[in-house]
Symmetry: C2
Subunit: 574 residues, 2 copies
């Protein structure tokens, strides 16, 4: 961490103490949880006699500002465990933290009359805290444990200058406008229902169409690059997940088994094992390798209720998965091929900026260190071949092999988890996945697990937020809407609609007896790329006036020109 | 049943007794199960001191022929329960049957020295048994119960004349050649693995491609007809399946629930409930109805291990499902639309013959008789509108509404379960699925459940058997194979391959150093529609000699002509 970032973190941490001091002033009986600095800001968890509402935040902020202006010094004091216990005798959460502390000396920090259990460091004076704002209130289980009490968490952001704070708040507002959960509702894209269960997504017709267009493109591109596309079942005997090591290493993400005819079955958490069985279904010669097997496979993994979030943290998701079965001498060129495919996909979907992260051996792993080294070196060599720089994430690999993670930057500069490429020596060994070598005897294949979009759910969320719901023309559920101004224009408008539909444009028509302004506003809200307005002039000239969702007015055009324009926008995929 | 069919059934039943008599001659200690007539023939279940093999069948048949030629009379005798128990004292299965008989008089039939517990009737003399043949041996649990002993079942076919028997055996041979399980292996289409579990299908790249082409066609056609295509999760809270009535009425086909965060979840057996939630996600006006919502939804249902069969009886399958939410006055026109879509699909996939069956109100039903009448009349009126005659299946409807079932006839004249159209008054009521009527108040919608292919698995099996694996050009995984005769022809052959690939033909090339005859034989085995042979003559004229998989030789042609021909065959979908 740079020292600038370190300074900001200290300042944000101090702001959280000031927040706690302000809350105590309003609620003298408040019980305090923890209050760390986080990215861009801070939070503090409280147990309070009543629920806070957003209306409480300005009042709390006002007290904080007074404390900041007062220039209270932050002072550190080391105390014994006994002294700490007596200082926080009325604070059960603090007492629990004290009991869990391994340190022999315990430190507390005081500003104004407020003392908190804290390792520090902090700013010297409350005046050193920059510009801040409280942003929201959320529920948070004590220590993230759903069996413990639910506390109230107050979030804030803090920056050294007012300008930076303002910029950040504007970015937050823009992010809220682009929030895929909000746009998902506004554009009728998807929904999540308690009746089915949290983290389980229903894709509506609009969202489903965009997904299908992405999947069609994905499938065609994979076929072109020599992948075969398969389908495997969503359940399978538990036995295979024991053999693979998932039952041992990945149990907390697996659902409980079902029993069928006295056998235990598991909802699949990944697609690997079906692909291995297809590969092993017949003898494979070294000449057929690599075998590239892809699947848009829906998998189910347990995530705690508290971390579920829109389409980005879910319990069921469709991976754009593939496994490459290859000889060890093919690893590097295959990984290069995957990186190039991933780059092509990211470019097509409008993600120009991304960074590569190489995640290496974790503490808990399968296989030998030698084999891990070999795989890690192959990944590095592939990255070098493509000429990409990368960060390292030591210990961040999966239990069965090292991986390359790609983080996409969206239009607001936020990171999204993108493609993943993993080398696996574990499964081929556990399942004896072999090919017949040139020497006529059996050799273990190497498996490469990879996704280039990640999951349809998360990628779709990322896409929605990146374009703010204004999908590029090729992905827009409705590409053009014909808007007749009055009833006498409906005939001509319908003819235009029919002509464009014949030309495979996704088009609809708004024949409601509403004012034109309101029809245009609705089309704008639905983020339809082309609005084709039809009035007397347009009927006379057998054309339509074209308005883009950007607000740009392209004037009266012939139907042929309009069709060409829509087609060309769609074909260019921008 | 016609009396001709009745006579055949009696004759086939008698043949099963003769089979049992013959088996007893070979195995005096044989224990006998049951031996009924079935379609085209008969079987008998035995417990024997050793396993039979197909080699045993000619010997058994020879004894049967001797018995038939001997003209043994079949004589009936009525006996008391005690007498029956003493007659079959050494036959535990017969004793169990006797104990379960409700009748006060029990009948036995004797021919030659062989007496069997039997209600009859039988032929007068064994000479009245026509031409027969034993066809196969299979395992069968006593009374179909997997916890009871496995018996050996010997199957035979029997017809009044030798000619009919011969015709039937030829049809069986043809059916065996077309068996989708056999072709599934030969053409590398799919596999089922014990490691995953019985009845759970892995689609390989070839089968997956055909499935995808079918699905793409299906999706485009549905969009054209105003359907929105959605995706819903494969698991959901059990609670909703209790509310729907499935937990009560359909329990034996459901898998055991899983527990997630203290809630029970079920693998979905159908897609209805997700669609209802999407429909109810916002207010619906009478003006938006009908809402047509389709999904290629994979569902999981329990089937006993003994009835699982290839792709036709499975435990997980993808329905080409849709639900139409409409006003009662729209039922008829919507059903007409579904029938027309189904006809279009069946025609496209080469099923010219089918019959419609209208299944009406069962004894136990939901809703009022008036509403049932209305729905049944709407289905009849829809069939009349389309001008289709239909059979009635009185009382064959589901408890929640009447339905139309379509049975497809394949190239061998066998029936396959095809499209289904069901009107449902139950779910809208249970889930309060409403629209806002013209009067501004809430009204229950009517739901139409429908599939037009049934399931991808069964439809694919039907398609494979109907075309004997020789998929029409538009569905062939490989449409053309270029076959260079010698190494010096490979360059020109590769150019042809490249040209066709650019024209979106699915093409490959056979560059192995094999003889041309063997390359053609392999292409023929893979049922590739177009073989493009390239030798000196073809290189000189910059063309290829075209051979069809039918064996027809179309002679030397230009690449442009070949491309046109393949495209036109694909576009015509024949």
């Amino acid at each position: 961490m740079s020292s600038v970032e370190g300074d900001r973190e200290v300042m944000r941490h101090s702001a959280s103490h000031v927040l706690a001091e302000a809350v105590r002033e309003l609620f003298p009986d408040a019980r305090f949880g923890i209050g760390p600095a986080i990215e861009d800001g801070f939070y503090y968890d409280f147990e309070l006699p009543r629920s806070l509402t957003p209306d409480d935040l300005p009042g709390i902020e006002a007290i904080m500002r007074r404390i900041v202006a007062s220039g209270s010094p932050f002072t550190r004091r080391e105390v014994s465990r006994e002294e700490a216990r007596s200082l926080f005798a009325a604070q059960p959460y603090k007492l629990e933290l004290i009991d869990d502390l391994q340190d022999t000396t315990i430190s507390v920090y005081t500003q104004g009359g407020f003392t908190d259990l804290c390792r520090g460091p902090h700013v010297a004076s409350s005046r050193d805290i920059g510009s801040f704002k409280l942003t929201r209130i959320a529920g948070a289980y004590w220590r993230g444990d759903e069996s413990r009490p639910m506390l109230q968490r107050v979030y804030g952001v803090a920056f050294p200058t007012e300008t930076e704070l303002k910029e950040h708040l504007e970015k937050l507002e823009e992010a809220a406008r682009r929030d895929h959960r909000r746009l998902g509702k506004e554009l009728d894209l998807f929904s999540i229902h308690d009746e089915i269960g949290p983290g389980l997504v229903c894709w509506h017709a609009n969202g489903g169409l965009v997904r299908e267009l992405i999947e069609d493109f994905w499938k065609a591109e994979h076929r072109r690059r020599g992948y075969g596309i398969v389908y495997t079942p969503h359940i399978g005997r538990l036995e295979q997940w024991k053999q693979s090591g998932h039952w041992e290493f990945y149990r907390e993400n697996l659902y409980s088994p079902m029993e069928i005819d006295g056998q235990q079955y598991l909802l699949k958490p990944m697609n690997c094992l079906g692909h291995i069985l297809i590969f092993k279904n017949r003898l494979r010669s070294y000449r057929e390798l690599p075998v590239r097997m892809a699947e848009l496979g829906t998998v189910y993994r347990y995530e705690r209720g508290g971390v579920l979030y829109g389409l980005t943290r879910v319990r069921g998701f469709t991976q754009d998965d593939a496994h490459i079965f290859c000889r060890p001498d093919q690893i590097q060129s295959e990984v290069v091929g995957v990186i190039q495919l991933a780059q092509f996909m990211m470019r097509t979907f409008g993600f120009a900026k991304y960074k590569m992260v190489l995640a290496t051996r974790p503490d808990h792993y399968a296989g030998t260190p030698e084999v891990w080294d070999q795989a890690t070196k192959a990944l590095m060599a592939a990255l070098d071949t493509v000429g990409l720089s990368y960060e390292e994430d030591p210990g961040g690999g999966a239990f069965y092999g090292p991986k390359i993670d790609v983080k996409l930057a969206d239009a607001l500069g936020r990171d999204w988890q993108g493609p993943t490429i993993q080398v696996d020596f574990n499964l081929p060994q556990r399942f004896n996945v072999c090919y017949i070598g040139e020497d006529g005897s059996e050799h273990l294949v190497t498996m490469i697990h990879r996704t280039v979009l990640g999951s349809m759910e998360r990628f779709f969320a990322c896409l929605v937020e990146n374009c703010g719901g204004a999908f590029p023309v090729w992905l827009s559920p409705i590409q053009a809407r014909v808007i007749p101004i009055a009833d006498r224009h409906v005939d001509h408008a319908t003819k235009i609609e029919e002509t464009l539909r014949q030309a495979d444009v996704r088009v609809d028509i708004d024949v409601r007896s509403e004012r034109m302004g309101s029809k245009i506003r609705d089309a704008q809200m639905a983020k339809i790329p082309f609005m084709l307005v039809v009035g007397d002039k347009e009927v006379a000239s057998e054309g339509a006036s074209v308005r883009l969702r950007s607000g740009e007015d392209l004037g009266l055009q012939s139907i042929a020109d309009i069709e060409r324009q829509i087609r060309s926008a769609a074909d260019s995929r921008v």
